[in-house]
Symmetry: D2
Subunit: 357 residues, 4 copies
């Protein structure tokens, strides 16, 4: 990774919920980061005091060398560095994240707890960097010295990336069927007896509702301290499939503007945003890549595109019912979780939003 | 299996393409059948003369005892019994099936070659038994003493079963995303390197087109010797998933009549047809079963319902874009192939259509 | 299933731990049994009072019709019928099973807790029916009116079935590498993130030790109230593989008697025991079947042989280091758990051991 | 990759059989290599003249940018550069490789065809770099200006790497059960219907024989132009499991010298060879890494260690029958194929064996 913005000295960062599956993904995502240096790892009391290198590592390989000796701390506000990434589950996040924000921490949260709060940015840097403008209201409303900034649900982000460049065509509705990887459910997550050689046509925790509502907020316009949700109607059917990483989404779209297939392809392929302009370290060269092969994108072969930050789209064609159909794929634990939050923090740093109190 | 129609002596049947994957499914499906007795197995010249018990058996267990000693014959018209089941691939079927029909055989075909011919029944006994009326025109047009009767593509049948009882609500469009099992691709079929822990968003051989066109013919009305296709618009996105048996379909539906969710549920659950009325041996007690659990139907757990002949439906609810969405599942090699053809033959026997020349 | 021993009226049976994965397997195994009728289902207090039909069913299909209306009771000794099958986990079994035995119940246990107790039969009816002779000592030693009879670990049973008929050749050592299905770990069991497209070379809970010790007890001789373990040395390496049902075992064997490959094959193929002689309802016609194909046995295709009660053996050949190597396969939740315990109970009934107080 | 040996200008290399699965692995392995530059890609006549970028790419992502524009040539001796990597299958290799060697090419072959020829090095640079001494005899015997150098079968290499450092203890026998990934079978390779949720206890093409014989040659001593095979007896049982990359091997070992578990662990962990001493670009820092976790090595999590060139070993412990047992894992398409051949070429370059005519 190389970044376009000079970082004279590394910025210390911490991870809340560092021992869980998502926490481990944060730790790996931050390893060797050109701007950020992981100096603080916090988890539940059960792990307190252990060396991070002794934690049961669920990802491939072993924990990064640079954090193996770190002692795991408790999630106590004020203890870690100003910038913390939160891999807490929703219940823990609901309590702990505001306490950290109140104590002056910038919390980059992957939890769903505050995503839909009117004064909390639900950020995808390519799409809605201006939503960081909500932070002023957030601090005013809540009296926090710090802040909470969230990234979307791992399925939402893939859909929103596809829809963003297509808003210009009068986007009216998006019907999506997801085929989601098991890593999206954390650890232990999905029992193998449920998913081996099987499909589960349901994902708990309000997955479909998240996709249907988060998308509209992400694509919405901000005016003052108010985000007006985009009016696109989203209908989601989520399923779990026996895939390790990468959410695949079959999407049908209706537009008021009746774009041609080629216009849609061009809009997707030429999509670019602030992360690309600012050359943020985690930004993929192209946020969306169009597959030319008929049988792509495929999660096992394409989820890693752009170091897991590129959304791959294929099979763009007419839909006989709505207007256009296509297949999109994104890496759910990178673009859909840890990479998303890190990119958010990079954007904030590049915009002077991290240091700016 | 018990049949409601007396079968004083067994009817001899044969299988064309008996050594391939689909052929083996026919052989297994016919084993122990109360009306039919497998007496003739034909395949390509490569296998001619071998004992059927020596063929590499791809299904679970071993070939049925009753056919192990049968010598494999060549696919020569006139050699086998009057009623033959065809497991030939499309290219072979295009040539061989009409030759058999011309020679007086009744060919129950699983191939796609003649499904869309105007004078060939594309039969699902619960839905369109009257389409057998096309046979008179077929014989007249083609000068055949025998006949070709086809069953639908393995994904089409699941969709058509769901749509049939919903036609009464003014069915207008059906948008379907399939997640199809590898057994649908035959043997050797899908390479494991393509599908292990993966999803392939494309199925060759015109799969999506088959679903979009066959469905309309199946649901159509017959008048004289003409089937008028149903006007429902179908949009299909097919995918392959690492599942052994059972095609899962996420379906969204639009209706002119705006039925309630409960009306749709009732129409599905109460669906029944000629196979049930006639108590055909392969007919499931209920052609459609509604799942009550949120996370069903699942291919590994539900494809076997009704001995593989029942379509299981779950998650019936409002669709914010079209009207209703739901998930349906059927066993692709039983209800979608061998079981379908056998049920077709049972219907013809019960209606006096097998003997009737 | 048909039984060779008349059962004038059904024997009432219960299941301890009926809501868990193994408990559900017992319920399914007992459904439609010609001798036993499931009248009592017990589980932890959390489930008490609910209808069994409302339990989350983990197996394929749905709970058997005949037990759906049963109210779940607590595991309180004295409440259920005399004969109870125990699907309790080891910790619960250690406490609850002796309480039931003391209260007069015959406990057919699948738990490991009492398997290695000197006065508890570790029973495989084809191998050591005489070990039921331990029950007199058990009652004397412990003052129980009832009894505990155990079946082996799900990997042990496959190995022991293979070794039993080969003892005659001076069996000296058995080196086994297992490839075990996820259903052997119960529910939720193995996280899908651990096992999708992966192998785990370790199974907790002392799996290897169980195989190495239980086997010797099972193959041992009984004299009076003492079982002398067989002197075979067993070395086990257990692994978990992404398979649903069926444990595969690669086995190398050393013998003092240097049998030929054909002698070993003949001994395996001709193996038979009391269950076959007595025509017990769950007894497979042949306890061991030899595969002729090079690439069998395979768990997905062969685990169901003999309704899951047959062990399939293939690839019998010389081992350049020990004497003979082969591959064996058994259904871990049927022959290795629920089916094993039911067969044990059938044997006891046929030998007059159930009624005999 | 960084190399310890200066490479003033890149060495041109070609790939025979470049469009197949193994060929694609070679192309990927060579992409960005510090010494070698891929300038020539050859395949069967069917592909001749097409751009390499248009070939159906079976690996993750897309073909390397640097080779996309290369025109595919026919496998005609004399056309490509001096150094060619052969990804040909055995039948093609048997004919084509000697023609290339005769024409002056150095053929680094992954095929089995010439591995066991007495005058052909079967090379693992950490183990037997001196076997390159066979090349003089090879040229003399065969009148070739070029040469054939082979790497072992993908399962053999894992076993040989484990055995090499243990020879000092009087290694007598090695009993191995493999659990092999599907990528070892090429493309289309293993049908998904055979391997989804299954184990196949057999691998064709003489897999077990290769492991049993190649290992002895690799571990043998060279004197003059003769390699005397090591006397270790190897017994192999190979199986295929539903894993994408990484062969897992359960190994039991007997020694005359009765080493302790710790001595074995130390010998493995401290193993190092010429590639490490010469700092060859593809050499892993440590050829063997010992896992500390009980449940490792696992193919999905550990096959990538050392960029796929490290063999990971775990669970080293006493075997009650032989002396020591352990589990080993290596990446079958990198350390077991393309990476192996590239490392061989690097060794030859560093030893002046590439340029030396």
């Amino acid at each position: 990774m190389t970044g376009g913005v000079a970082a004279p000295r590394p910025i210390d960062v911490g991870v809340l919920g560092a021992t869980g599956m998502v926490g481990q993904q944060f730790v790996r995502q931050l390893a060797g980061h050109p701007w950020f240096r992981t100096v603080w790892l916090a988890a539940s009391e059960r792990s307190e005091g252990r060396s991070y290198g002794d934690v049961a590592w669920r990802l491939s390989g072993a924990p990064p060398e640079e954090v193996r000796a770190l002692r795991i701390d408790a999630c106590v506000p004020g203890r870690g560095p100003r910038l913390v990434f939160s891999a807490l589950d929703a219940a823990a996040a609901a309590e702990i994240e505001p306490a950290f924000a109140a104590a002056g921490h910038i919390v980059m949260s992957n939890a769903r707890s505050y995503r839909m709060e009117p004064d909390v940015p639900l950020l995808i840097p390519e799409i809605n960097p201006t939503h960081l403008g909500l932070l002023d209201a957030q601090r005013r409303n809540r009296g926090w010295r710090g802040a909470i900034v969230t990234n979307p649900n791992c399925s939402t982000v893939v859909l929103a990336m596809v829809l963003a460049p297509l808003r210009r065509f009068g986007l009216r509705s998006a019907l999506v069927t997801t085929m989601q990887a098991v890593s999206g459910a954390g650890y232990p997550g999905v029992p193998s007896l449920d998913i081996l050689a099987n499909v589960i046509p349901f994902i708990g925790g309000g997955e479909e509702d998240k996709i249907e509502t988060e998308t509209c907020k992400i694509l919405g316009d901000i005016a003052g301290s108010l985000v007006t949700p985009h009016l696109v109607t989203v209908s989601a059917q989520t399923t779990r499939v026996p895939v390790v990483d990468g959410h695949t989404e079959a999407i049908s779209l209706a537009f008021d503007g009746r774009p041609s297939v080629d216009e849609v392809r061009d809009a997707l392929a030429s999509f670019s945003g602030e992360p690309q302009a600012l050359e943020l370290p985690s930004a993929p060269e192209r946020p969306i890549v169009l597959s030319t092969a008929d049988d792509r994108p495929q999660p096992r072969r394409d989820a890693g595109a752009g170091n897991g930050m590129t959304v791959t789209v294929g099979r763009v064609r007419r839909c006989p019912i709505l207007d256009i159909k296509l297949v999109a794929l994104g890496h759910n634990t990178i673009r859909g979780a840890a990479g998303a939050a890190v990119l958010n923090a990079e954007l904030m740093h590049a915009m002077g939003r991290l240091e700016g109190d």
